[in-house]
Symmetry: D2
């Protein structure tokens, strides 16, 4: 069994928890789980959600099954065996700003110093025998620390983001128990891209994978750009709009919270083309009625042979949360398998395929199709994929 | 110098001839020439068009420069140094049917038996010291022969297509002169996919590359499908329409001529997904006013995690002929380099990236991004790419 | 009460029958019923399906409610009070060709001469006190007769289409009973555009509305073209593809059946622009997995001020059958109201908004937005719309 | 002759000036000039640009012909007879904020009190015998005054926008000379929507038409929404993105300047649908490489009959400036004709078709197709259109 703590009990967590049970009951095929057709030494049916954390006062203290049902009603059937333990109170840390415009917030660090709250959560991870922590909280503003000293001091002062706080808690649990923990960071906060965290995890024989799960338009954009680059077509410009009605888009309407997204998304252009083509790549707005099935529009012009101009327009409707949940299903078992094989720190070959901003810091984005084949090879070599 | 005979003096040939001169004059960047950024042992400035063949009575006997100017007027500037030798009369062979609905036709085989006409052209290739024959004639109905005996007999009876006739002429020239020739087949006629031709070329230390240059929507479709397959998304269906105003689309309106295209285009779905998703992938119609910048529309639906349905719509405006001409620029020098390295028969690693229906016959389509990296490796190993 | 006979128990009939009951039960809002917000002297809750006809052996003799359930399962909830009378055997007439490639066919005219079969159906219409016949059979090949003599002779010889046969039966019922009947023709067969039928209906104080219900892309195209025409933008070309997975698209794959559609669709260009811009407007293919929610792609280029070129690309996903069923809800009550006001023959002002090919024959297509306001005025003047 | 002063010598002014000369020389057809096919009592060949004003230091003092050539180079041919008088220095007024991030600014009101600068310009209008002032300056922040007293006081204090300042100058010229002047406001500044200006113009027997020329996506959106409303389809949401590379989009990147656009654009939804469907309709960004041919993406979902959901996606490439210039060609002659017919204040029937935010203040948006026919009727009745 792989014991999973879920941080952030939102739509992605709900799709993860409900989808996992439906997979175990064979109610659905493992579509959207990239490596489902390979034999991985850890099967996804071994995954089990053992705890969940949130700062939405409407969720804290409620059974997870109830929270999941509320969020997925009318979208997909929710099986009866979603765990019904109570969602625990999480931490707000320095990234709570503006959250209260979205829902009533509460966090342990409203009563305790942040550092103590983090230590408390670390103890819970430990006593729950958590193997993998899945970070699914809302996009938050956060900067990398670079070295562990600075991180330690910032924690002391309560100046780390919630994502950083949970990652630190997972590290503490591993350090303290002597049992490795994997932290999977599916949001933009730089963790696998922060040398401070990578070093800490290495010290604890643990693993941080990240950053920012590569769903939606970014990995497709990467592959489209690679497609053009391989034909030496000169990109005149690339434009990409995103609009949706889930919490992630709602957060964009709050000025304090919409900066991180933009940062990870744009790097892809220069990394793949080799030059910085003019671009506008941004989540653009929030319309509740769109729901979780976001609308994406892209326009790309390039110069083809003999100086003529071609154009490609892409429009997509993507179920944002299930796409990320499908990646999580694979990442959890991969993380467990990698720990078993003794991998520690972070692991670029997996990050490069699964993440928008693959760590470690100095690593570049590459076309996902290329990243995919490189990852498969690396996992075979390690004995993680066995057939 | 690489001496090139161009078969089919249409829009692609015009873009090739004019673009090549503009490249030599440094009037344009080599955009759309895939390997321009690599050091290949043959440079494209070494390419030189030394003869051209056609069956359009309005082109035969006219200076190539005049034919090129007529076709590119108002589209791109035509440099003054496009060769002005006269376009020679080609052969109609068994594939002339319906061509006369598009233009007045004439061919040597109206006066001579086809076999003699082919031998005559072989002599011309030989006396012109042609290194590479570029096949750019209109899409034609044609079936593979499988073995050389059948091919020989069919030629005797005049029952080979024009593409097959030119390919045979090139083989004869190589055989007879003892100097290898490369034949680059950018149309759907199965040549690199016909064991008969591959065997003949092998015997003559020569090379046939093909079939059907991978421009337009097909290679993009291949990469999009690979993108979905790697995420284990289940494709519900894929639809792709193409409409344009060039001769290739005009030919579609002639029932005798529109079958080949469909055949090569659909195989991509099963080859890449591993299952035959419902699809409709066809050149759809002809509207002269659209010109050479064809319009492509695609719609794909797939099942994502937890059983939900996503949708991707792609619309493109693609300059059809320059795209193919850009590939030709690279293929000519690669073919010359491969001959120099002693490669004979056909060469899958190059075909897999450049062709819609990569030969040899038993080979499968693969995602172009993957094919690209495999090709680069293979070419480096052979010493064709040196840096 | 308005007593309705439905001819063709397919998907549109199912949406009509089920949707009508849901409207009566106030389970749905009258979205897609154009005049729902106006006070019309006949309310749609007065409509009642009293009989249904089909030539699919799997439907004939089955309760309508069962046929409806089978077709709408998993699409919309079917209320329990859809009528459960048995679907009656219809006529194949001259338009049965190819139908058997879609389903097992049976028709009264396999046993009886067509004329007698028509008379039999006329008697049924009469004894059922049918007020309105709704023609929803599959698209069929058919030509107008022009005068009643020719029509009579053709019927004698069994050489009328099924749509023409039902229209004649409805006329006979009206003539014979002295009670007016309305025939609403929602398929391309020329009835309101055939002076022969218009004259017959006039003689029987009855009304034929048609032809071909204006759903999907055609009315939108009409409004887009009007939009361009009013700004004096010169359309360079217009392309429109349609693909779907319902019976209507399946019929296109049968060569004998795909001609009518093309005819009605293209006239819109010249009617509205005043010149025949190059166009390709056609239902393009059939992919079952697309289902009833068809995919439409359009591309329009025009010349704007100072000679520059603009482009508009439209992609749609349209539920084909409910759209037509929504129009039927309005047309049935309008037809009943018009009969009450003494209107006979045909009625252009309603046809011009609701039909792709509005009768009478000499009438032109006009922008739907204009047609809408003209229709509202005409209906107010007649006292059909009262508020 | 109709003597025209152009305020704002940017891209629209350049297309207007160059296109007008090309029309007079019959080098182009009057495409994009809506009423070109009607006989209007004033012909557009009577229009003549007699002066131009700007605050870009790179334009002030330069011959108009040179400014036009610089801006249209490589886009359209510029005829030799574009007037070569010098562009005059305009006013910055209260709306100069941020302009200096786009170009070096200079204005008369840097040296003079604004009121005196306005009076100076009024004198120039008068001595130039200007009949029509065409307002084409950059989008600016501005609020309506409501009554003339407030406007007068604001001018005293220098607290009016540049658009308001020019409109006041035109009024002064008319008042002073006793000869009516028309002011055509093609930017969002509320002038025809400000009772203060409408009243002033009425007093001077003059005419203000506005506000904000209806090009691009807004009038198309209006017609699409009307199309849906007439079928009683319930709009679930509407999303519209715009991105371009001209000065108008550049101005959006300057926070002080991007508010006005949003305001006029959104009102269209409720005005036409009758309810405020969830929407996001905004100019979204600036990418210089896109140039003047902006990219627009729209996504609309609606509920159709029986509760099912349809979707419409629109993508456009629109040459922004020529579209507006084409409207200007018509508006100038219409304004002159309306003045001749004694119309004063503002004129809703023309505004409703040509403007995004048609004045007077209390007027609503209506579908453009409807507005078009209403305008034609009104102009015929007045004798402005005579055939």
């Amino acid at each position: 069994m792989i014991r999973v703590a879920v941080v952030g009990a939102g739509l992605v967590a709900s799709h993860y928890a409900a989808g996992l049970q439906r997979l175990k009951r064979a109610e659905i095929e493992p579509y959207g789980v990239p490596l489902a057709k390979f034999k991985v030494i850890k099967d996804y049916v071994e995954e089990e959600v053992v705890s969940a954390y949130d700062v939405d006062a409407n969720k804290v203290g409620k059974p997870l099954s109830e929270v999941v049902k509320r969020q997925l009603e009318g979208v997909v059937p929710v099986p009866p065996d979603v765990p019904d333990f109570e969602v625990r109170e999480g931490v707000l840390a320095s990234s709570g700003a503006g959250l209260d415009k979205m829902f009533p917030v509460r966090g342990r660090d409203q009563k305790l110093p942040l550092k103590e709250a983090v230590e408390e959560i670390a103890k819970e991870f430990k006593s729950d025998n958590v193997n993998v922590v899945l970070n699914l909280i809302s996009t938050e503003p956060a900067e990398p620390f670079g070295d562990e000293g600075k991180l330690a001091k910032a924690l002391e002062r309560g100046e780390v983001s919630a994502g950083q706080a949970y990652a630190f808690a997972a590290y503490l649990a591993a350090k303290d128990s002597g049992k490795p923990v994997a932290f999977i960071n599916l949001i933009p906060t730089p963790l696998a891209n922060d040398p401070a965290f990578v070093k800490l995890y290495e010290d604890a024989n643990s693993l941080v994978l990240g950053d920012d799960g590569a769903t939606g338009a970014t990995p497709l954009t990467a592959d489209l750009l690679e497609h053009l680059a391989e034909r030496n077509r000169k990109v005149r410009y690339i434009v990409q709009f995103n609009i949706g009605g889930n919490t992630d888009f709602l957060a964009l309407t709050i000025p304090e919270r919409n900066l991180m997204k933009e940062k990870t998304k744009s790097s892809v252009v220069e990394d793949i083309l080799g030059y910085d083509a003019p671009h506008y790549i941004k989540p653009t707005g929030y319309v509740e009625a769109i729901g979780d099935r976001k609308f994406v529009a892209m326009d790309i012009e390039w110069i083809t042979f003999n100086g003529l101009v071609d154009e490609l327009i892409v429009n997509m409707r993507i179920n944002d949360s299930p796409a990320l949940a499908g990646l999580a299903v694979d990442l959890v078992r991969l993380a467990a398998a990698l720990l078993e094989k003794g991998v520690k720190g972070t692991f670029y070959d997996v990050n490069a395929f699964f993440m928008k901003n693959p760590g470690p810091k100095e690593a570049r984005n590459k076309a996902r199709i290329k990243a995919y084949y490189d990852m498969i090879s690396a996992l075979r070599e390690l004995g993680v994929i066995v057939e």
